[in-house]
Symmetry: C2
Subunit: 260 residues, 2 copies
């Protein structure tokens, strides 16, 4: 793959592994926009958040290359993959970091646990316009083709003007029929949390173990400006995500509490 | 351990493992405030962010108990540990989730990668007043006793009034002599990022591997209201951290961009 000066260079990753349907669809759309460096793990790395690999070495393998893309397998987390690609594998700083399409929603607080969004946040920390895409459908046979139209709209906006420093986009697409999707809504992250229902089992040796399972609880189902509301009402939600976790509104109140 | 109705119940964890000096110091201080349920991994889980374990089962072992504390080892991440403890191990919802003392700073964007802060954020998602403590010293022989005074100050504030919903505290203590620490500063998260310097090596089979190493870059060294400024100028920094990652200020601007 030859990367010309005018080519957009796109770093593509995900957290569902190299053979995920969502990654294939996102690669197809990204090739319409520029040259793609794809890096992913062989297996799924769901729920890895922004985890880093510090105790074991990272390994990368070039799997293939054609005129439009180059594909690497990496044994690290999505965040490791972005860091490694930017520092060791790409010819120049990518124009975009794009992650997904995730199998399942990353709306509300799922942004905190998501490996897909962590990759976009990592790109953002490198000053690169970055987006994570997710389809609200966990099925391995989900139809990702309905996402293509909205991915194109988002990327055309980024092509005309990059995102501000410290902000990336969390795009969630509802699992609706193409004809049912009503359009795009710019949203805020819904308040909510995952309530766990651990499954307690005994192994063949009689020892107890637990499987982590959870049910999402939306704390504000009535609010119509949230990502949760949008995707459950057939809209594509876009939340601008900041890497600044400071609760700015509470700083002055906290100062008062510590002066007492 | 008997937990009386009036006892504060404290869930304590960290990401440096059960035998970390920082955890020992934090346990000592927490026992002054109430009854402690401690859960941690045997080995270090640094840099695990808010990662969840979904592909392997979780296991827990009761290691010991006395009148003041109960200690569990867990094979999961700090976030798994908090979820498992709240749902399966504690008698009632803890009053506080306290994490640390981390060996090394979690100021600036390190909050995104930190397992210590992820545990506090997880407690916060359960509606519990939660704090992560870190000492800006990576040495295994670091003197954590200088932290005690400031931990007591912070927890006394929380004892008199819980934190608002969706906010936890990121407390970073400078690696200075006790007499040099000038006090507490309420701060915002400094803008910055980790620039990687991957070490590329060959294994005995001649195959390439990489070690992830990084150097923190503070993007605003002149700003005096940040956590980075505070800890490099001998102040204890406290940042109120929100679980809401929405860039609220950018929502209206993004709406305009998508209307064009």
């Amino acid at each position: 793959m030859i990367i010309e000066k005018d080519d957009k260079l796109i770093l593509l990753t995900n957290d569902d592994g190299l053979y995920a349907g969502g990654l294939k669809t996102l690669l197809e759309v990204m090739e319409e926009f520029g040259k793609v460096i794809l890096i992913s793990t062989i297996e799924s790395m769901s729920g890895m958040s922004q985890a880093l690999t510090v105790k074991t070495p990272l390994r990368v393998k070039l799997l293939g290359e054609n005129e439009k893309h180059r594909i690497y397998a990496c044994n690290g987390t999505p965040t490791d993959s972005v860091k490694l690609a930017i520092n060791q594998l790409v010819e120049r700083t990518p124009d975009w970091v794009v992650s997904g399409i995730n199998h399942g929603s990353n709306a509300s607080v799922s942004v905190l646990y998501s490996g897909t969004m962590a990759a976009a946040i990592e790109g953002c920390l490198y000053g690169i316009s970055s987006v994570g895409f997710s389809l609200n459908n966990f099925s391995p046979t989900a139809d990702f083709s309905i996402c293509k139209k909205y991915i194109r709209i988002v990327m055309k906006k980024l092509a005309s003007e990059p995102l501000p420093a410290g902000i990336c986009l969390n795009v969630n697409i509802p699992a609706s029929k193409k004809s049912e999707i009503k359009g795009i809504k710019i949203c805020r992250q819904s308040k909510g949390n995952w309530r766990e229902e651990f499954e307690k089992r005994k192994d063949p040796m009689g020892k107890t173990y637990y499987w982590l399972t959870g049910i999402f609880q939306n704390h504000e189902p009535e609010a119509i400006d949230t990502d949760e509301w949008a995707i459950t009402n057939n809209f594509v939600s876009i939340v601008p995500v900041t890497v600044d976790m400071t609760a700015h509104w509470y700083i002055d109140k906290l100062k008062v509490r510590f002066k007492k």
